[in-house]
Symmetry: C2
Subunit: 337 residues, 2 copies
DNA sequence: CACCATCGTCGATACGCATCGATAATTCGA
DNA sequence: TCGAATTATCGATGCGTATCGACGATGGTG
């Protein structure tokens, strides 16, 4: 592998000159620049990352802490990961994976060894054991998700409260007076990610404001639980029933249950779910969805991180950004009256 | 951040001694070792990765090239990524993400900058533009998937041919004389990943050996295509029909189509699909599946990579490893006669 | 024409660790 | 008891880059 010294020799200049051509931190004459650039091209020179990190104290790598195989909803996690990685490249950074099975020690490790300049944490829980560590690390940390106490932390997430409000508002506008919200599956509820509460709170707020009734019913990945919840929902209204089902795994089960009862989506009953546009369109009856904008959340997380890295101000930062959600009505909801 | 020099000072030894305590490459007396370890503990010293890489010419980082958001089957990709990352940690390595939108240039970049010691490529296609680059890089490369010409390359993948054979064999044993294989969705077929051919070939081989008929029918993510394929399948047999549906997205559509025709899985018709055990069990009629062992493939890919890195022999390696697949019969297939 | 600011480049040094050769301390055999 | 063979440790050097101070060349000003 050629080094900057080789380049310097080939171009007939000093090594420091090569460095300045690359960084642009000092003026270089057009002639010299050309010579150096030609030599770089010639030798296919690429700067050594380790040496660069050692000298500049910047690795240009961001650590991404991914959840510990939650078995379900892996697809949506991958969307975050993928977008985060390519956005990072746009800011001339790379992504190092940190799996959550290393726990908080993993964070200390990658920061301590100075493998990366900052950390992005996914799936932040209400009382997350990683938070005290995150606060004590002397590198920027961006959380995707909002813990109970976000003080001293930089957080970003979809605006779940707005999402809940919009779902109820639109269903109310379609004439539903009783709206059933099916909880996430127990595995998610147990994790105490507080977007659940924010979403449910949003539905309550809208319900109060609009004078409609919102029912919170248990979710589950077995048909019995869902069937029971549907029973309760049907018993509670004389009009057309409406369901909000933010958990992707539960959607299929609910749809099957409803059609088993002879109810037709968009005709007798409204259902708002959550899925990628592609998947939503693929359904027998295209599903109306609330889009939680994972790609946009990912992009902004990286952007915030890179801004923090540039401004490299040592002081503790604190901010909270909510990404607006979007409802798309397809065919599974009644038309507004 | 403390350095090894700080540790040396605290322990009253030379910096090189600290280094030898850490690496074990020279004998150290018990007394000195204790002193140094105490100082390390005391200062919470962690070696600087950049300096280490610079001096040792090893980064202990593996580049993982992930597919460019194929929109579908992201869940299964995440399983690879997750297992690869944690397995790498077991071998004391880290994973750097390289997104495929950088293309072959991305590979040159991370290797040229010496950000990582080797590369793992996912979703290798038949004629992959990255292969010539992979062969020319002077670092170990492990492919997940098998290109048309694997010469000079180290490949690992699930044994799709065996998978195809086993599916046909078991369905034949259950009394089916005509077996329909539904292709992957067009998006996958177009990508020319050759596991498709290997799987289909496996079904043909078994069919010939057992004297049963295998029909290859088009797949698709729309109900019309699937419905047509089912029509053809039903028209081709007087006995109970049997389906093999390796594409996860298509499974739901097929199941719905069949039940719409009044056919009951495991009673009137056999279906073998592909899904994680958890998901398979969740179905109304638990799905018999062919398990392509993504976790095992991932683990072995990392293991092979780490072996290559240790033996750091420069010469071009070449190997091909196939991971046996496993059929699990649940309730969607007829009992063997 | 002398003087000073600016521009462009060079040389030297630091970054933190691994590693090699050398040296001091110890042990062993004859 | 002396030298040889170990054993344990130190000092010095190199890895490749960024960056700082210095210096010669250039151009403008009075």
């Amino acid at each position: 592998m050629p080094t900057s010294k080789d380049v310097a020799q080939a171009a007939g200049v000093a090594q420091s000159t090569v460095s300045y051509v690359l960084s642009g931190k000092r003026p270089i004459s057009e002639k010299t620049r050309k010579k150096v650039e030609a030599a770089i091209e010639q030798l296919t020179y690429q700067p050594n990352a380790g040496a660069r990190a050692l000298a500049s104290r910047k690795t240009r790598v961001i650590g991404l802490v991914i959840p510990f195989i939650p078995e379900l909803e892996m697809g949506s996690i991958m969307e975050f990961v993928s977008v985060i990685a390519s956005t990072a490249r746009q800011f001339d950074h790379d992504i190092l994976l940190v799996t959550d099975d290393e726990g908080a020690a993993g964070l200390r490790r990658v920061v301590g060894q100075q493998i990366c300049d900052g950390l992005i944490l996914m799936q932040v829980e209400d009382e997350d054991e990683r938070l005290p560590v995150a606060r004590s690390l002397h590198v920027p940390v961006v959380l995707i998700g909002i813990p109970r106490d976000p003080s001293g932390l930089v957080c970003i997430d979809a605006d779940f409260e707005m999402a809940g409000e919009h779902c109820v508002r639109d269903l109310a506008a379609a004439g539903h007076s009783v709206i059933s919200v099916i909880d996430w599956q127990p595995a998610v509820m147990d994790r105490h990610v507080n977007y659940v509460d924010r979403f449910l709170h949003g539905t309550d707020v809208a319900a109060k404001a609009l004078g409609v009734t919102v029912l919170h019913l248990p979710g589950g990945t077995d048909r019995a639980t869902i069937s029971e919840s549907v029973d309760k929902a049907l018993a509670s209204t004389t009009g057309n029933p409406a369901f909000i089902v933010p958990d992707r795994t539960i959607q299929d089960i609910l749809r099957r249950d409803l059609s088993g009862r002879g109810l037709t989506l968009g005709l007798d009953v409204s259902v708002i779910g959550s899925a990628s546009p592609t998947l939503a369109e693929l359904q027998p009856i295209p599903l109306s969805t609330i889009d939680l904008r994972p790609a946009e959340v990912s992009r902004r997380a990286v952007k915030i991180m890179c801004q923090l890295l540039e401004s490299d101000s040592q002081g503790p930062h604190e901010s909270l950004e909510l990404v607006p959600t979007v409802i798309t009505h397809r065919s599974s909801t009644l038309r507004p009256q």
